[in-house]
Assembly symmetry: C2
Homo-oligomer: 481 residues x 2
């Protein structure tokens, strides 16, 4: 739509139709748009600026823990993809195949990477000879393709952006430490930067990554009570190292296989952000990753008013340069239109300046999350705004945490789960015997999947929610994205 | 190779076999490696850290000139690619086609983007309605695929990384200003950050981008006297806007087509960097983009010596933190091995510290470019090293410029060109009548292509180097990568 004819339009009601609310917000906040390719979306500048902030915050954590970035090919020859049986079985239905180039058919089909284990580990087998070459700690930021039947903006798209870390270690213990270290890096990143509270846990056999020995996950609760897997960290044991021949001469002169791990996080997190914090008026962005932290709305009617307001705003932007990410909306729309627009787009703080504000040497500051309004002297903006941004960041996390707790229930039987989940979605903690049969029974009857075996908080005491057997473990069930 | 068995090995002689020297340096400096996919390479961590520094320096310039980043799909439906005839004709032989996903054949083939004009302009036709929506100034960092018959690390690979800017404007003048603005951004980036001197010019009809009205280029001279096109900026007129229906309601109420441009720069620049500055010992990296600006080599024999050296180095790294990118090589190799290794990998400054240095309160500082050695008091490192890095950056540019000038010749006939280019490669300035026939004649006889019609420095006075006609323009001919 042109800026001329485009007004803030109603978005669907959250309570009424959360899914339509979500799509409305994505499109109207101009985070993304549909593309001419089935299942692929365009990440628009506002959405991409958000992703850049997220990426930079995670990238610095990945580097601070000793990892380095590299880049591996988009294509994986079919024979290579088939080297590890479980892995190829898991991904085969989702693989896009290049079969021709120019006017010629290729001799061997090339997969577009759905993930890069087989490519990266093939290179590792070349680079690793001695224990001195270990650990190898490499991360890649890349696009990957998984052919999905049903797609949903950010949450599940045919092509998406992600980072994938792939590491090789000398010992099992080192590898296990790495898997949990990166889970913790993810937790810190998501909770600190995105203000999304997480449950950390291990996936069940049926939910783990194709070929992994163990998959760990961070699970978040969305605004409709459904779970979203926000990132995963996998230990492969020596399984992939055997398939890809990553062996090394150890300190004692013995040749051994390495222990490998991988961990990934994707643009799906943008979806998590929207669905965790958004409200009836649209998006609410956590200040630490918001493209604009403060939007300034000039208010004036006459020319001489405009001049005074413009002067005050120039002074403010100079004072705040390098302190907060500030955007001044000088467009021709009315202030009311702009208020709605920037609320919809989730800017954490709105700063209004009119002639009366200028005369009083102040600005009107409005929080997006609480809509609380206050007059702040211009001279205090440089200290008050950063503090207010911190407050908002903190409040968003606390609000999301309180919501999750209000929707988290301890249940003791599948009947209880089935009854409660029909009333309201949420996280349901229960004891599970560990059998795939009981896990499937829950899924079939309630639509809830086993999100994880939480690392903290469950004692596993009591009978299995399905079969009643004792000696199980605590598991969290939820309907999920 | 394992670190255990890996020693600095001889690299081919530059004079003798420049091409093998180049490949040796790429592989042995661990910038890149061959992959299991034909024509695709792996950018290793050292090479990727270099690319990250280059990318960040260019990205900040792209943003400072008012552009924003976004992300568009990897796939382009065949029907969409065929919408603009000249464009598809130019790229068709190089396109990789996805024809199947999972077990199913696709109804329509999908091209892997060789460039994103058609995808991005399709979105623009949706986003642009009024003159108020213009200009649209979007850049994308992405991977693209062009099926090349012959590939060469960094210089020509099937998949490569690049940025592609795509803009739409209200008027021809604005679009033309954009094309030249971005050419200037490229010049500033390449000359300032990479220390590579450039000639700016316009491409001839035969060398311009498929579908462009005019293509501008920055041309660099490599260490063997061959030319390398280091970046291009294209004006499309209203040509693509017509094909993709990017029209807008103008100020006067008339509906008009937009004027579009695009401009791109790729990982090939890493190749340019290597071939501009490298010498017989390997790589020389300009300080502004070097992953490590200073490498510290500890020198000691006895345990008590190690302790003193370690203390001094800890003090240095603390003092220099945030000032220079410093790497301490604590590996088990001999100092001599490390000297060679880090020379090969092109680190601008080597800092040696042994017990005698510690006793004298100094370090030995060695420049990579001149090998000049000096003792610097430890207390002065924080001021002397940054200044020295600036000196090196400047000296590299000056050296490359002097080399280019020594290999630049004014010639007046194709005979002269043929004779001189056999002796020594370089840039040959000549007058050209403007005909494709004369351009082809030069190429056929001498192997030199028309690099550009330089924006500055040529007056076009004299007869055409081939047909002798007057009234031509100044053109630069060279054998090129």
């Amino acid at each position: 739509m042109s800026q001329e004819t485009r007004f803030v339009q109603d978005i669907a009601d959250q309570e009424d139709d959360f899914s339509r609310w979500y799509t409305d917000v994505v499109l109207k906040a101009e985070l993304a748009d549909y593309s001419p390719v089935r299942g692929c979306m365009v990440i628009r500048p506002y959405g991409f600026a958000l992703w850049e902030n997220m990426r930079d915050a995670l990238d610095s954590r990945i580097k601070a823990t000793g990892h380095v970035n590299a880049y591996f090919p988009l294509f994986i020859p079919e024979s290579l993809l088939k080297k590890e049986a479980e892995h190829v079985e898991g991904f085969n239905p989702e693989v896009a195949w290049v079969t021709a180039a120019g006017d010629e058919d290729l001799e061997e089909r090339l997969a577009i990477r759905p993930t890069s284990e087989v490519m990266i580990l093939t290179m590792y087998s070349k680079w690793v000879q001695s224990w001195r070459d270990l650990p190898l700690l490499i991360n890649q930021w890349a696009n990957v393709v998984r052919w999905e039947k049903r797609t949903h903006m950010f949450l599940r798209t045919t092509e998406f952006l992600w980072q994938e870390g792939h590491t090789a270690h000398r010992t099992e213990q080192e590898a296990q430490e790495e898997v949990l270290r990166m889970l913790e890096v993810y937790r810190d990143f998501v909770e600190t930067e995105l203000a999304i509270p997480l449950v950390l846990g291990r996936k069940s056999e049926s939910e783990k990554f194709a070929g992994a020995q163990a998959t760990y996950t961070i699970e978040a609760m969305m605004g409709d009570g459904r779970a979203l897997q926000a990132g995963t960290s996998h230990g492969f044991g020596q399984h992939f190292a055997e398939a890809f021949n990553i062996s090394f001469l150890d300190m004692d002169g013995e040749r051994r296989n390495a222990w490998t791990t991988s961990w990934g996080m994707t643009t799906r997190l943008i979806g998590a952000l929207i669905m965790t914090h958004g409200d009836a008026s649209g998006l609410i962005l956590p200040p630490r990753v918001a493209p604009h932290q403060v939007v300034v709305i000039p208010i004036f009617r006459k020319d001489d008013e405009e001049e005074r307001v413009r002067e005050a705003i120039n002074e403010i932007t100079q004072r705040l340069a390098g302190q907060v990410r500030l955007h001044v909306d000088w467009s021709e729309h009315t202030p009311g239109w702009k208020f709605n627009e920037w609320e919809l787009r989730g800017v954490p703080i709105r700063l209004e300046i009119g002639p009366r504000d200028v005369a009083a040497g102040q600005a009107t500051v409005v929080r997006r999350d609480t809509r609380e309004k206050q007059a702040v002297p211009l001279g205090e903006l440089a200290t008050r705004l950063p503090a207010l941004l911190d407050d908002i960041q903190h409040a968003l996390f606390e609000r999301a945490l309180a919501f999750r707790e209000s929707r988290t229930h301890q249940i003791s039987s599948i009947d209880e789960l089935a009854a409660q989940i029909e009333q309201e979605r949420g996280f349901f903690w229960a004891v599970w015997c560990g059998s795939a049969a009981c896990e499937t029974a829950v899924k079939t009857r309630t639509g809830a999947t086993l999100r994880c075996l939480p690392l903290e908080g469950g004692d596993g005491v009591g009978p299995c929610l399905v079969c009643g057997q004792s000696g199980g473990k605590t598991a969290i069930f939820a309907r999920a994205y």
